[in-house]
Amino acid sequence: MKLRLGLLEEFIIKKVEAEQRLSNAFAAFVVTKDGLCFVAASKVSPVRVQQNENFGGIIIGETNKDTEEMTSVFRAVCMSIQSAYSEDDVHARLVVDMMSNYLRWTIEDMDSPQATASEMLIYDMHRQVIHQIFLNGDFTEIPLGETKEKQFFVGAYSKRLRRMIAKELQKMPEVSKALKDPKLIGPVVSKLGKLTGMKFVNVIAVKRSGI
């Protein structure tokens, strides 16, 4: 007998469909010995997000439509906070809150057949916290000082692929060395490109002043 869940079923279908679209694209926040970096792979170039000195982040999406939609939302969020308060008050936690609400409502919006296949990683530089925002609106808040994990993912919904990517990311060179000699990260980038089949693979170092 088939279980009917009504609206919930529709939401789950939309979520699973969006996850399938994002199955190979991914963004990871990697903690190396001497620094931090974002690694992202996508069919389209991922969007870097940077707002004042409070946080840095990255948006990935299945298509340009998805990344641009979330970038527009991000800009609108920042502008609204800036106009009500000030530029210095655009904090990661507020952005995460609003973006996650938006993503949740795109799934619950029954006028649209597809959810937005886009996810985000945001690093709060003041509190040293990494936020993952998933396409169903879930988000995490992980203080780097309180976890032994070195890799934080969004996207890459294929479990097997994620294991392979994680293994590959362990070979990431130290950030300061890679900044001096970009050739060091060449092998990792090309391997990740082959694994995911994604056209764009970007590695972005995170500094204190920004990304």
Binding site: V73, V77, S83, Y85, D88, L94, D97, N101, W105
Partner: protein, 255 residues
């Protein structure tokens, strides 16, 4: 981008829009509790000093209260003082406390001083444009410390914002600021030590109390003085510390 979804997301973050404080549009107000007031604020070595007199009057006709507190702690590192109609000042104060607590709980960071000033300035401007044509009669002074350091902002009744190294608001501000101007070099450098800063604040309040009918005289009411420091945030100075200084200043007048 789905506009209605963004608007719903925003509504969860920002407090509700400006509310009318029980004043019906066009209704004649017979008696208004006025706070003629002198509030001063300036920088000193460890942070900021705020001081105010204690008198609330009814349109300069009668004294309503000689124990009114005119400076308030609105956030850990922010103080607020204002002159004008008491109801309007209380509305601004309430809104300021509300946004500070809601922002802190949402963002896990305190709201910057500039952010608080900007919000109140927008609120005052919107109020006069959309709610009540004669606006909010509250000339506010917000002094606080954030990651950019100590800052003092004045917000006028039309919503204009100005930043000062030292400032005073209220009917006695002319006298108070004249006293502060005598020490402007040290005030701009923020080089006063705590004891000297408290004495200067009380001197400015004394000067205003002597000449302004809206501000209380040192001889009739002990002013309220608060300090905002990087370490401990907003703290009122104890009366035991103020009394000897006030006694000395009163004695100076007699001689």
């Amino acid at each position: 981008m789905r506009r209605e979804l963004i608007e719903r997301a925003f509504s969860s973050i920002f407090p509700s829009p400006v509310r009318a404080p029980g004043v019906v549009h066009g209704q004649k107000i017979n008696t208004v509790a006025q706070s003629g007031t002198t509030v001063v604020a300036f920088r000193y070595k460890d942070g900021l000093i705020m001081a105010a007199d204690r008198k609330t009057s009814g349109g300069y006709f009668f004294i309503d209260n000689l124990e009114a507190m005119k400076i308030h702690e609105v956030a850990v590192h922010t103080g607020f003082g204002a002159a004008g109609a008491v109801a309007h000042i209380q509305l601004v104060l309430h809104e300021l406390e509300l946004i500070n607590s809601s922002f802190r709980s949402r963002a896990r960071h305190p709201l910057s001083v500039r952010g608080q000033v900007n919000y109140i300035s927008n609120m005052i401007r919107d109020y006069s444009l959309y709610v009540c044509p004669w606006g909010l009669e509250a000339h506010s002074l917000i002094a606080g410390i954030d990651h950019e350091g100590a800052s003092i902002y004045g917000i006028f009744v039309d919503g204009a914002v100005l930043e000062y190294p030292y400032s005073s608001v209220g009917s006695g501000s002319d006298q108070a600021i004249a006293r502060l101007d005598q020490e402007q070099r040290q005030l701009k450098a923020g080089s006063f030590k705590e004891k000297a800063a408290i004495e200067l604040a009380l001197r400015a309040i004394r000067q205003a109390g002597l000449r302004d009918s809206g501000s209380s005289d040192l001889r009739t009411a002990l002013p309220s003085v608060a300090k905002i420091t990087y370490k401990n945030g907003f703290e009122f100075i104890d009366e035991d510390v103020l009394k000897p200084v006030v006694a000395g200043l009163v004695e100076e007048l007699k001689s």
